[in-house]
């Protein structure tokens, strides 16, 4: 994997998420009154659905990179060896389980979000 690709993905995804939050905030501020209809009309438009879907993909990418960094820092034979040597021998298994678990949760989370948005 490219170091700069991972680094850029995390930084740019955070900026894109920030822009989305500003966009949502500007919508809320610009409305005289927020009610169910104005809120659902806004979020049911194709553009906002598409944008929201994209943002949640960014959230999952951003979160997974962060979790990958945590996993490769703390779930190594060296770091776990500080706790217990027998645990350290299973570092690779623990790390892969950790990556798989959070990867799976990310997919489930994203699928659920896309289901809610589009169906």
């Amino acid at each position: 994997m490219r170091g700069s690709l991972i680094w850029n993905s995390q930084r740019y995804s955070s900026l894109i998420i920030l822009c989305y939050l500003v966009y949502i905030a500007s919508f809320i501020i610009s409305q005289d009154e927020i009610n169910f209809f104005s809120w659902s009309n806004f979020f049911l438009s194709f553009e906002v659905r598409f944008l929201t879907s994209f943002i949640f993909i960014m959230i999952v990418v951003h979160a997974y990179i962060g979790l990958w960094t945590v996993g490769t820092d703390y779930l190594t034979s060296r770091t776990l060896g500080f706790l217990n040597k027998s645990i350290a021998k299973r570092a690779k298994l623990m790390r892969n389980t950790y990556f798989f678990t959070f990867g799976f949760l990310g997919i489930v989370y994203l699928s659920s979000i896309l289901y809610i948005i589009w169906l």
Binding site: M1, G3, S4, W7, T69, T72, D73, T76, R95
Partner: protein
Amino acid sequence: MFGNKLQVNLYRYNPEEDKFPYMKKYVIEKPKRDIMILDLLHLLKEEDQSISYRRSCREGVCGSDGMNINGKNGLACITPISSVVKRNKIELRPLPGLPVIRDLVVDMTEFYAQYEKIKPFLQNETTAPEQERLQSPEERDKLDGLYECILCACCSTSCPSFWWNPDKFVGPAALLQAYRFLADSRDLKTEERLEALSDPFSVYRCHGIMNCVNVCPKGLNPNKAIGEIKSMLHKNKKDIIVTDGV
């Protein structure tokens, strides 16, 4: 609490005798004038000959006596007692993250391996001029704040990323030196140097927490150098692909 006494808590570990490291308390007369931590260690060594630590130049040039002084890495020879003492107590530990050989002496193999990895020498295969390769004053200025590093390891051993991945993350000290050669107009291996640093660990494990800047006894800024390397890597499209292999 101690009046004219000074309590020194010293990390002790002799692998031939001790099963585990321990902290030993020494109480000595408070020196009448402000002395350096290294002088304090000399005083303690007069009392207890078994205390081990590295020292050489005793003036902040050789980088031998890097240690953790009251929780902050620094050079014992240029750290006055008055600047670190808290309630008449001083705690001395070895540099964190590196294997302890004995007392305050650490095994620097991993640190030097990273230094070796960045090829800390000028690489220029063009025919050498009769006298020397010249630089303009502007080109030379770029090396200020980089070449002064004495490799004391205070920065790298205060960096959590280096603690967790000392075999993969190059660390602030070696990265400062990597940039020293990247910024050198006489060095012609910029592409190769950047390629060697473009994996997810070598440079990108730096999260910019700036512990390195906080502890550097020479007042250098490895974090800025790492930022410059990242900028160069972003401009350089020749990133290499590496596998996880943790």
